[in-house]
Symmetry: none
Subunit: 128 residues, 2 copies
DNA sequence: TTACACTGTTTCACAGATGACACGTTCTGC
DNA sequence: GCAGAACGTGTCATCTGTGAAACAGTGTAA
């Protein structure tokens, strides 16, 4: 899956956006610091893209930018592998839970598949 | 403006959403931990709403929930939203992953159930 | 020049989030 | 009954982001 050492959030992009907006408005680092309740030192680090800002500071700054946080997300759906679960069981209950949660299936379809799977599971399980 | 000691991110809501979804899918804490690359202990803390998760873990979990991060933001204008997400699917691939990972089933049984489910899924899906 | 105000950056002690691991409990199979 | 595994949670050493303050430059006015 995703590498652990690389952040899922594009903090470099955030830093650039902040600096652009700040200079556009001809504000100093400390001006923005006061406006956003982020310290000047931290703001400097963020603008330069060093480190990984915590959630609150990211929230304060995107709020000031009026930018949705999700725009900073490195969407991992680039990965070839969609979504795979590795639980420990595949009981009818679990399959049913998945089916009920599946937006693509109508409730009737989910119900029918659940029932079918349940019967099949029992059949196959008992012949062990 | 905003008080500094209170987070701008509704981590309690996040914890509740995670727990709801996890129990809906009947997954264990460690299952979700493996799926999201968030450690089990951290996940436990988040579900219980203690502490302030860092940005990466929030990103990983909202990504797993298929929930926009902005929905966790405490904007000045308050919105009331207990929203339920149903991001997951029950495609044959996913069910097959479950079956193969099921220690209680023999490989042959898992294979047979996978094939059966695959056929049934196609049948039911196409009749829309 | 001198003195002062401002800029962005860096230092540093500290608070707290993290994951590996251990713990106690509850299932589950034998 | 009895192991053994899986469950959620607690412990703890490590790591890192933080803000106050110090810092080095750069005007700017007397």
């Amino acid at each position: 899956m995703g590498l652990k050492n690389e952040s899922l959030i594009n903090t470099v992009e955030l830093g650039r956006a902040i600096k652009r907006q700040r200079e556009e408005l001809k504000l100093s680092l400390r001006d923005v610091a006061d406006l956003t309740d982020v310290s000047a030192s931290t703001l400097s680090r963020i603008e330069n893209g060093t480190g990984r800002p915590d959630a609150d500071n990211i929230a304060r700054l995107t709020q000031w930018l009026d930018m949705p946080v999700d725009r900073l997300m490195k969407h991992a759906d680039e990965s070839v592998e969609p979504v795979i679960y590795y639980p420990h069981e595949a009981t009818p209950e679990i399959v049913e839970a998945h089916l009920r949660a599946d937006r693509k299936l109508s409730p009737e379809t989910a119900e029918a598949l659940s029932e079918l799977f349940r019967v099949a599971y029992q059949q196959f399980s008992k012949r062990k």
